[in-house]
């Protein structure tokens, strides 16, 4: 049975075309993917991402459990801070990437991907028991929350109209309780678009109210509601991982170029395997590419070097900003230096592509490409 967001009827009224994603019926687009995409890059957009999961992790052992099961030492993440990380299996492969927020003493909220709430909840529960962490409770509250993301250069100005809290004081990856439009919720200076912005965790009953207030407040900035179509093009342009694509088939954080997120100074499940992999080296790594020729790379396309297969595309699309095909994929370590030429095979033909350093689209793109 397909689940719907609490805001489904609102999206219908706004004229959304829907799509199914991880068991949820969500808006794919409201007007056009390109328009929504550029709106976020240049102005501001609001996303309903309630299909994502919410887990509350509470108790004196909460930090220990998170440290044990993720790449991060949660003891280093103080109250009011959040961290992007991954949960790994014993063999070092990623179960899910996620953000966890340290909201207050012994209270964390973790945001696994859509459809992963049960798996992650069960994993945490199992490991807590296995490792004798008794003072911790893991609660799946995904059904109770609406999650909204407000992203873009005018995101702060939009949200500031709805709250007394000085949003400019919230640090990057900071998180806290806040009152927005009279509704108490959690806010974090995080996002999946590469633009400045915030994400709000709101109790379901208040979701519609906050969403419509955000649209109203954003009117002066030409805000738009944004669908999953643009969410995907926005994240891919910034080389952000989509778990279902980039971790498919079992990938480690080292392979996914998440090594920067590994805090090696603590014990965590999967650490031994990763230490071994790091020593051994030679593994395919996530690589970012921009097409030089016409065509759009897609998931599963082979990556070639002089006709030899050197990798596979995991995510591909037409970049609304660049107007050419872009892709992320795993490539042999010898063929992924920025500037290297590769070929991507699409339906029997090859497209020339160039390896680039992430992010595929630079930070100041909107500044350098104002509307004509």
């Amino acid at each position: 049975m397909v689940k719907k967001s609490a805001l489904h009827s609102v999206h219908e009224k706004l004229g959304a075309t829907f799509t199914e994603f991880c068991g949820f019926e969500m808006p794919l687009q409201f007007s056009s993917v390109k328009e929504e995409h550029l709106c976020v890059r240049r102005r501001v957009g609001v996303f309903d991402v309630s299909h994502m999961s919410n887990l509350l992790i509470t108790g004196k052992d909460a930090a220990r459990l998170i440290s044990l099961t993720t790449l991060e030492d949660a003891g280093k993440i103080g109250i009011g801070r959040s961290q992007y990380t991954a949960l790994c299996r014993e063999d070092g492969t990623v179960i899910d990437d996620t953000i966890f927020m340290h909201l207050s003493d012994d209270l964390f909220m973790m945001i696994p991907n859509a459809g992963m709430n049960e798996i992650v909840c069960n994993w945490l529960t199992k490991k807590a028991s296995e490792y004798d962490l008794t003072d911790v409770e893991i609660e799946d509250v995904s059904r109770d929350y609406v999650i909204l993301a407000v992203q873009g250069p005018d995101a702060l100005s939009t949200l500031q109209k709805l709250t007394e809290t000085d949003l400019s004081q919230i640090k990057f990856f900071g998180c806290q309780e806040i009152v927005v439009s009279g509704v108490t919720c959690y806010i974090s200076y995080t996002g999946y678009t590469g633009e400045k912005g915030f994400e709000l965790q709101i109790k379901k009953e208040e979701g519609k109210k906050v969403f419509s207030e955000i649209l109203k407040a954003g009117e002066e900035f030409s805000i738009r509601p944004i669908g999953l179509g643009a969410r995907d093009t926005l994240r891919l342009e910034k080389s952000f991982i989509l778990a279902g694509n980039e971790f498919e088939g079992g990938k480690t954080p080292l392979e996914a170029t998440m090594g920067w997120a590994i805090n090696w100074d603590h014990e965590f499940i999967g650490k031994e395997a990763l230490v071994r992999e790091k020593e051994k080296g030679g593994y395919h790594r996530l690589t970012n590419m921009v097409c030089k020729g016409k065509g759009i790379p897609r998931h599963g396309c082979r990556i070639l070097k002089d006709g030899q297969e050197v990798g596979t595309v995991t995510s591909g699309t037409l970049s609304p900003c660049l107007g050419v095909g872009i892709a992320m994929g795993y490539a042999h370590p010898e063929h992924r230096k920025p500037g290297d030429s590769l070929e991507i095979e699409v339906r029997g033909k090859t497209i020339e592509a160039e390896v680039v350093k992430p992010p595929i689209v630079p930070k100041d793109w909107a500044e350098n490409h104002p509307v004509q």
Binding site: K34, D232, T233, K294, R347
Partner: protein, 126 residues
């Protein structure tokens, strides 16, 4: 808004339309089809001069999210492709029956057109 189905055209089961112009069939996709695809960003054409059989893969039409095949509603030779779509693929969305035409086929057997649906039949079926 209801899908536009234009009178005077013929329609295939796979949502292509045909406009007969002498011995040439102009082919495109219907309003219904372009709506399903959402914004089209890329079209891959067959080579001009290629011989097609009815039912062969004609063009590949790509949206941001998906890749879709279109099929030749009639047999014949590709005599022209709509090159304007290279720079403006979204014309298929905004004008599926006019500016968004895909290819022109010089028909090998004009009677094949009779086997396609007329506007009423297409409307009824979909």
């Amino acid at each position: 808004m209801a899908d536009e189905v234009r009178d005077g055209l013929k329609y295939s089961d796979s949502h292509e339309w045909v406009k007969v112009d002498g011995d040439v069939a102009i082919v495109g996709i219907t309003d219904h089809a372009q709506k399903e695809l959402t914004d089209i960003v890329f079209v891959e054409f067959p080579d001009v001069g290629k011989q097609m059989n009815r039912g062969d893969e004609l063009c590949v039409v790509e949206s941001v999210k998906s890749v879709s095949e279109t099929y030749a509603p009639v047999s014949g030779e590709i005599v022209e492709v709509n090159e304007a779509l290279e720079d403006a693929p979204e014309s298929i969305n905004s004008s599926p029956y006019d500016d968004g035409w895909l290819v022109k086929i010089k028909m090998a057997d004009a009677s094949e057109v009779e086997e396609l649906m007329d506007a009423e039949a297409y409307k009824e079926k979909f």
